[in-house]
Structures are given as structure tokens and as C-alpha cells.
Amino acid sequence: MIVEILDIVIAGLLLGGLYALIAMGLSLQYGVARVLNISHGEFIMLGALGAWFLFGFGVNPLVSLAICGPVTFIIGFLLYRTVFTRLRTSSASIGAYEGSSMLASFGLLFIIQSIALIAWGSGIKGYTYLAFPVNVGGALFAANRLVALAFAVFLGLVFYFFLVRTRLGKAIRAAAQDPATAGLMGVNINQVLALCFGLGAMMAGFAGLLISICYPVNTTMGLEYTIITIIVVVLGGLGSIPGSFIGGFILGLIGSIVTYLEPGLSLAAYYVLFMLLLLVRPTGILGK
């Protein structure tokens, strides 16, 4: 019994760590840059397929982190500067911008996915890395899952301290609370928003890479993760980075419990939770 509970909890934390990382990324994109990025999952896919692609050349996945992260950051940053900055300046209100930027991100979903399909095809891809079992209090886990959890928590914390402690991190938070006044402080708002979008894409890229260490991946995996991410972000409270972190772990645990009871139902359980949440507490755990 105890081993079974441990089994469920640790599996939930593993899943939760990945969800937390992905949701922090979207939280930044939506909470600061005001883009409800439907193509978020595509950056997860890029991180995952990128790691798989590099593994084919013998690159260690943990080394790929240092490649896929910056690459997804640059793609996100440039996309914001070319597409979203223009939409923002031409929108009449912030509400209009949220609508048009979401539609634009829908388009990005199809563009990125199609390019990946052309490049890599639609087959399921996987590789074996650190697949030996590790005994944790009687429950057995593949070492790669524990490594993925450790990196997810580590990256989440690094990111959190970046936001809280550094000059740029403070500027991001100020821009999230009041962009006009942050501008009066000398913060280059367009630059900071693009930075947030890029960092959000980078978090997705990191998470995708960690996912590819544990699970098989393919070029159409993105949308399911986007939906899960939106559920986590709403659960944690829209725009709250700590909320996303906590929400990720909560959803991971729920997923793990449901998977234990009935493996096919975890996504359905997420939707039920999502609907209940919208009815009972639409502001989420840490929302205002």
C-alpha cells in the first residue's frame, strides 16, 4: 500500500514538474506579453524533436538543453518582434490585442507544425537515455524520469529567482503590473515583452526536451500540451508565476492518481477539473 502511494506521488511529481515548467512559460507570455499563446505546445514539440534530432548525432540530451533553450528563445523573441509588436501597436485596446494575438498564435501553431512535419514526418520518435531503474523507497523509476524532475525543478527555481532578484526580472514584473509606468522608469517595453515571449518559448523548449528523455514524441504532440498548459495556468491563477508552478504539481498529482485508477481517463479528468474550476473559482489558486 505504502509503496503504491509512493509510486503514485512520485509519478505525479515527475509529471507535475514538467507541467509546472511549461505553465510558467505560458504564464509569462500571457501575464506580461498578453499573448494567450496557442502555439506554446509547438515550442514544446520543437524542444522534444530537437533533442531527438541531436541525439541522432550522438549529442547527450542534457547538452542539448544548452542548444535547444537558446534556439527556442531566439525563435520566440524574433516572432514577437516581427508579428506581435506590430499587432500590439496597431490594436485599439489591450482587449483587441489579446484577441488578435491569440488568433495569430493559432496561425503559428499550424505553420510551426507543418514545417516540422515536412522536416521530420509524423512517425513516433524516441531514444533511450538513462533508462535503468532506480529504487525509491520500494518503488521503481527509470533514472531518466528522476533526472527530468530534478532539471524541471531546478530550471523553475532559477527562473523564479531571475524574476525576483535581477534588474531585468524586476522590470518584467513591473511591466506586468503597469506597462505605462514601467516605461516611465526607462524600461524599453517592446524589448521586455519580446524577452518575456522568448523566455516563455524557452521554458517550453526545455520542458519538451525533458519530455523527450522520458516519453516517445512526435511532431503533432503540441496541441495536447497547450491544452494542459492552459488548464494549469487557469488552475494556478492567470498570470501568476508561482501559481503556475504550484498548479503544475497539483495537476500532475491528479493525473497520476487518475492514471493509476484508470489509465485512459487522465485527460478527461483534467477537463472535468477545468470546468469545475471555471464554475467554482475562476480566478484560480493564487489569482486575484
Binding site: R167, K170, L184, N188
Partner: protein
Amino acid sequence: MLEVSNIDVFYGKIQALWGVSLRVDQEEIVALIGANGAGKTTLLNTIGGSLRPASGNVMFLGKKIAGLALPAIVESGIAHIPEGGKPFPDMSVRENLEMGAYPYRAWTRKEETLKQVYHIFPRLRERERQLARTLSGGEKQMLAMGRGLMSKPRLCLFDEPSYGLAPIILLELFRVIKSLREQGLTVFLIEQNVRHSLEIADRAYVMENGRITSEGKSKELLQNDHIKKAYLGL
């Protein structure tokens, strides 16, 4: 130090400022007074870089600043303290002050500047760790002033510092504004509270319907019949 010459400013097709000119000298306190909707905030936003004039020029320390991006204007030494203070609500008092030191030239010296700001506003030191949203109206205004000073400005632009404040706090803040001159600062403030602003200012301009209609030494304006009737209720 600051020279605004003949600027026109539009909101879309609507003209808000008509050929406005004014000048602020080093270590002077200059007030711009006028009724609500006269165009005072528009002028301040144009000097501060949030708006661009359609024509005319703004010079600061001998350099043209009209049309420069906001970060460059802040970097050049202008601090803009917005109406109502607008501190960042979910940041602590200290973090708000640190945000004021965002320009690079100020960031490296922020600990030292922070001490000076705490010396001017001991209340902010007491509330250092509190979130800005929990402060009273007067404390928020103090925080905004402190945050402005953190950028090590040469010129401070104040937008309605008296806005929504109790009289006793207003007097305290105006005393602080007046004392800024002793630290080598220059002040340009816009106000609806005509009496108090004329009492601390050296000179003042009067704005009506987007135009400067009169100017002069504060003492003289306080005696001016039109001002007395229109703004002081005498």
C-alpha cells in the same frame, strides 16, 4: 535647462496643444497651472517622451529630446512622477524604489541613493517590506517621489502631486518638493491646486484650452485679478 518651443500636439485629429512655449532654468521650481482638461498632462507627457509633438521642439541640457524614445529621455536625466504616483502595487516599497533606479547610470549607485531617499522619507524605510498596494494615498505619493529620485534625475516632472491628498500630507510633500532645489534639482510641476503650487514655485505658467495664456513670477500671479477670480475663488 528645459526649453519647449512652439509645440503642437495632437491626439489623432484633435489638437490638444497649440504653439506652447516655456522654459525652466537650472534649480528653478516652475509650476504650470490650469483647470482640468486644459492640456497640462499632455504637455508633461510630451516633455517626458510618452507623446511626440507634431511640430516645435523640446530641448533639455542643450540637446533636442522631442521624438526620442522614453528610455533615452529617462537616461538623459528626466524623472516623471505620474498623477496618483502609480507605484507598482504587487511590489514591495523597496522593490518599487529599486525600479526607479532602472537606468544603468543609477542602478550601480542604488544603495547609496536609497539611503538618501530613506532620509527624506523615513516612512518609506519603516514600510520597506510592505507591498505598495497596502500604502495610504500619501505614502503612495511619497513612494512615487522617492522612486523618481532613485533615477538620479536633473529635472523632476510632477503630475498633480496634490491629487487626492489630505491637506496636512499635501503640505509635507510640497515642503519636500521645495527642498529638492537644495540638492541641485530642478522641478517642473503641473497642478490644479493653484494656491499651494504658487507658494512653492518661483515662476508659473497658466494654461487654458491648450495654450499658455499668461506667465510670470509666482508672487505677481498671486496678485493678478484674473488668476484670483478664476483659480483662487477670490
